[in-house]
């Protein structure tokens, strides 16, 4: 049974995690490949289990009840279509990350701080997806958070990384607390924590609404929804690159899984205002995330903010699904939910690809700051080519997979005028506009990222002496790019694979996608709209091949190399070319004043004065300023005030104890 095999593999990963410290303590040279290789094999087994359960139907699904954990609950594990779909997402990411890490991990200075926690992290994530009762879900969730925290703190000598770990720990604890409260409300006063029991229990509407808010706070903070995203751009860059890829590409999807499981499956019938909340948070995350990303100079932080944007897009789809589900429009709900999950899958693919590329750049040059890079397309050609593929995918350009999922969400928006609630009728087109804006800004962001890092001329010695990386790393990226291309050209089978999931969640499914004769996907019906990724790809290839052949054969194919055009001033210095900051300046000038209260001021010295002119740019993170800084201030203030408790006299302590005792006795007397 696949679920048994899955649980055994998870146990195997935990075993590897236990063995790893022994290997690293002995300073064995082959510790790294063995640990990552074992993770690769076990994650592959889990991937196969997930695929079997998703594609094979109910014959391969099932539940398991183990007598571990709390004695009156035990531990329930289940493999149903939703968990199978997310198991595939998690484990495909884990498989390629482990393969990548065999090459990347060779450069790790302190393998003892990374190797034990990596398999533990994988085990935690898989266990969250497999859990079928609230207690094991929460234990696995915490396990996942703590092991990823340990991985974030791997390079603890850096002050920035320590701060990142601290913020991450705070936000993760907050998130778990919210989840705890949410599950507590769902389980009710009787405390039956099994998902199967919660599913069939009676739900009071306002209680379900409260559960939604708690899930948005808990799972949303782990996924990276604005305004709870602040830990993401700090923590994801701090970890080693393969772990960053897992955190951005996979762990955020585990959080999305948690949200979908509770809100669509366990909490009963949704109310229409749930969609309002989810849409607002999703649209806000999409635009704010990419606006931050456009202005970043640290390559990994840029990718982390881009994750916030894509999670926003996933939640826009989920909000649409909730809106349609509440109003009984099953076909439209199925389209929206399928598009969201497909986008989650696509994002895990191309975000991992991009993070691996960033890891290659870090290995090859030692730099993460794109202002010091440039010209890497000549020194690291394969990485450049693969990174370009990732940039194309994330910018939602046909014929790759990012375009397909965004196209499906846009088609879902076009079905919304039939919604009866007025708030939704205004919010849905606004979300559509923000989605389109986010997609266009993402394209600008990745033109900048690729252009400044890989194209143009090297801006520092590190970039001039870059070298290409190991074959393990390159081959992992090829695998990801290949799947991106396949998902973009033949999205039909992927959408069909997700129909049992949407059937389970919204009691409806997208129409069966035709294999022949058109190889196109049909979101609602053939007369409304369709898209054939294969034909678009085929036509583009044929057109470019034809153009090249015709021109080379009938015109000229001669090439001559010469210095670039320099307007009469020979310019050898790479300082004169566009920097990342200058590339983003127009966008910053247009969107900055609204989103960041951007202000530019300059002081010019008088003529004849030898002092330098100064240009000051101030950007404020409004969310940090208005939400987190006041909370920080309030907590510090309370702590200061309560600090006097440390310095009281002995008599005061005794009086406190005496007062507490008297108070309790009075309470007992009045309530007895």
């Amino acid at each position: 049974m696949p679920i048994v095999a899955a649980l055994l593999s998870v146990a195997g990963l935990a075993g590897v995690a236990v063995v790893a410290p022994i290997l690293t303590a002995r300073r064995v040279a082959w510790a790294t490949p063995v640990v990552y290789g074992a993770s690769f094999v076990l994650a592959a087994v889990l991937l196969i289990c997930g695929l079997l359960a998703l594609l094979g139907g109910s014959a391969f699904q099932g539940t398991v009840h183990l007598p571990v954990g709390l004695p009156w609950i035990g531990a329930h594990f289940a493999l149903d279509p939703l968990s199978a779909a997310f198991l595939v997402i998690v484990d495909f990411g884990a498989v390629v990350a482990s393969f990548y890490a065999i090459g990347y991990g060779a450069h790790e200075e302190e393998p003892g701080r990374v190797l034990p926690f990596y398999p533990a992290f994988l085990a935690g994530m898989n266990l969250v997806v497999l859990s079928a009762d609230a207690f094991s879900f929460l234990v696995a969730w915490e396990f996942m958070s703590l092991s990823s925290w340990a991985l974030v703190m791997a390079h603890h000598h850096d002050e920035e990384n320590r701060r990142a770990g601290y913020v991450y720990l705070l936000m993760a604890s907050f998130g778990t607390l919210m989840l705890l409260l949410g599950f507590g409300l769902l389980a009710g006063p009787d405390g039956d924590y099994a998902f199967s029991a919660i599913r069939t229990a009676e739900h009071v509407p306002w209680l379900s609404g409260l559960v939604l808010v708690l899930m948005l706070l808990g799972a949303g903070s782990k996924a990276g929804l604005v305004p709870l995203h602040v830990w993401l751009p700090l923590a994801h860059p701090a970890a080693p690159s393969h772990v960053s890829a897992l955190m951005s590409g996979v762990m955020t999807k585990v959080a999305v899984y948690g949200f979908i499981r509770v809100v669509f499956d366990l909490a009963g019938e949704p109310a229409w205002w749930w969609a309002v909340l989810v849409l607002i948070l999703g649209a806000g995350s999409a635009v704010l995330g990419v606006l931050h990303a456009v202005l970043q100079r640290d390559l990994k932080r840029l990718l982390a903010y881009s994750t916030v944007e894509n999670i926003g897009i996933v939640f826009i789809g989920l909000g649409l699904g909730l809106a349609f589900k509440t109003n009984g429009m099953a076909g439209a709900a199925a389209l929206a939910v399928t598009a969201s999950i497909f986008h989650a899958f696509n994002h895990s693919l191309f975000k991992s690809l991009l993070f691996f590329g960033a890891g290659n750049v870090l290995t090859g040059t030692g730099e993460r700051d794109i202002e010091k890079l440039g010209g890497l397309v000549h020194r690291m050609p394969e990485t450049a080519y693969l990174f370009l593929g990732g940039c194309l995918a994330i910018s939602a350009l046909p014929p790759l997979n990012g375009f397909v999922s965004e196209w499906l969400i846009l088609q879902a928006i076009l079905l919304s005028p039939d919604l009866p609630q007025w708030a939704l009728r205004f919010l849905v087109p606004a979300s559509g506009a923000m989605l389109a804006l986010a997609a266009a800004l993402a394209a600008a962001c990745f033109v900048r990222a690729f252009g400044i890092t890989f194209l143009s001329r090297p801006r520092s010695p590190a970039a001039e002496t870059a070298h290409e990386v190991s074959r393990w790393q390159i081959r992992a990226m090829y695998a990801l790019l290949a799947v991106c291309l396949i998902a973009g050209i033949f999205p039909g089978p992927f959408l069909d694979a997700l129909s049992p999931v949407s059937q389970m969640l919204v009691a409806g499914a997208m129409p069966k996608q035709p294999i022949l004769p058109h190889l196109s996907i049909i979101p609602i019906s053939e007369s409304r709209s369709s898209y054939s990724g294969f034909l678009v790809f085929f036509f583009i290839m044929m057109a470019s091949w034809a153009a090249i052949r015709v021109i080379h054969n009938f015109a000229s194919r001669a090439v001559r190399r010469a210095p670039p055009w320099d307007c009469g001033f020979p310019d050898a210095s790479p300082v004169t070319q566009y920097t990342a900051n200058s590339f983003a300046q127009p966008i910053r000038r247009v969107f900055g004043p609204i989103a960041f209260r951007a202000k530019i001021s300059q002081t010019m010295p008088q003529p004849g004065d030898m002092a330098p002119a100064r240009l000051t740019l101030s950007l404020r993170d409004l969310i940090w300023e208005f939400i987190y800084a006041p909370i920080e201030g309030a907590v510090l203030y309370a702590a200061e005030r309560l600090n006097i408790l440390q310095f009281l006299t002995i008599r005061s302590y005794l009086s406190l104890v005496f007062a507490a005792l008297v108070l309790l006795l009075v309470l007992v007397a009045t309530w007895a």
């Binding site: 088609q411 005028p417 670039p564 247009v590």
Partner: protein, 317 residues
């Protein structure tokens, strides 16, 4: 027989758009010159220019990469595929189910992505200016286009261009949302094709550089291919406006050869009228300074959004 005919019509469309695109550019240059009381170059001059360029040796900078060498063909291919899917003389194209309006917008976005990367490849300041300004305009023009697509799709019931064209031919009415969408689409077309008031296609001065800056380093056959792609893009936008907002004369599914010929003649006429009106507008207005353009294109985004909002609120808008 029907299938072969349909594929033949699609093939004729692909060849026709390619053949007429430089002619459209030549026509607009001639009209502009005449309006400015000059003689102007001949209408077939762009064809001669393309032939001349294609036969020349391409001069590449020392540090030009494989992306720089291959980008022109990718830009051309994506633009040509997009142009082949816009109904021009016949409303029902055989491969129109392969890509709808959103996909056409995204294909043009791919072309722009590669063009911007090519601009950054050599590492000069000119290329950087062009690419960064182009991406700024795209940041607002693409969502504007998507909102306009939404407006049209909500009126016509589909994003498939053939269905939209047939709907517009059958039910041509005045509607507020379509009026707003038309103005928005005109603004987006001016922006995307680098015409006055957004960019001046006739100069290479830094002040007016966006599109010309990105292709500054290109020469020979690469430049010819990119110029052809730019001409195709202009033809695509004018045909799109004609298809959605002035669809009279287009051949329907079952019209015979005569219907097709009428369609071709009316289409060429619409191209001429569109080109003339565009040039008239260009000579009447000055080019905007760069940071006024986001407000201009933002206006198109607002109009598209307003049109969509009105249709969401009430179907009769």
């Amino acid at each position: 027989m029907g299938l072969i005919l349909a594929i033949l019509i699609q093939g004729i469309q692909m060849v026709l758009v390619l053949a007429l695109a430089p002619g459209l550019i030549g026509f607009t240059r001639k009209v502009k010159a005449r309006l400015l009381r000059r003689q102007g170059p001949s209408v077939v001059q762009p064809y001669r220019d393309l032939l001349r360029l294609v036969r020349k040796e391409a001069v590449l900078a020392d540090n030009a990469s494989w992306l720089f060498r291959n980008a022109p063909y990718l830009i051309f291919a994506t633009t040509w595929v997009a142009a082949a899917l816009v109904p021009t003389f016949a409303a029902g194209l055989h491969f129109s189910w392969a890509a709808d309006l959103i996909a056409i917008t995204a294909l043009l976005g791919s072309a722009r992505f590669f063009l911007a990367l090519a601009g950054m490849d050599i590492g000069t300041a000119f290329g950087g200016i062009g690419s960064s300004r182009e991406m700024l305009f795209a940041t607002l023009a693409e969502p504007a286009m998507i909102m306009i697509v939404f407006t049209v799709a909500l009126v016509a019931g589909s994003t498939q261009l053939s269905t939209v064209a047939e709907f517009m031919v059958d039910h041509s009415t005045l509607r507020v949302s379509l009026g707003l969408a038309l103005i928005g689409l005109i603004i987006v077309a001016l922006t995307e094709n680098a015409r006055v008031p957004v960019d001046n296609p006739a100069t290479h001065l830094e002040l007016t550089m966006v599109h010309e800056a990105m292709i500054l380093e290109y020469s020979g056959r690469h430049l010819a291919v990119i110029e052809l792609a730019a001409a195709l893009k202009l033809l695509l936008y004018i045909s799109l406006i004609a298809c959605i907002f002035a669809p009279w004369g287009m051949a329907r599914q079952d019209d015979g050869v005569l219907g097709m010929l009428v369609g071709v003649v009316t289409w060429v006429g619409k191209l001429a009228i569109g080109g003339f009106l565009m040039v008239l507008f260009e000579t009447a207005i000055a080019k905007m300074r760069v940071f006024r353009v986001p407000e201009f294109v933002g206006g198109a985004l607002m109009l598209g959004f307003l049109g969509t909002l009105l249709l969401f609120v009430s179907r009769s808008f």
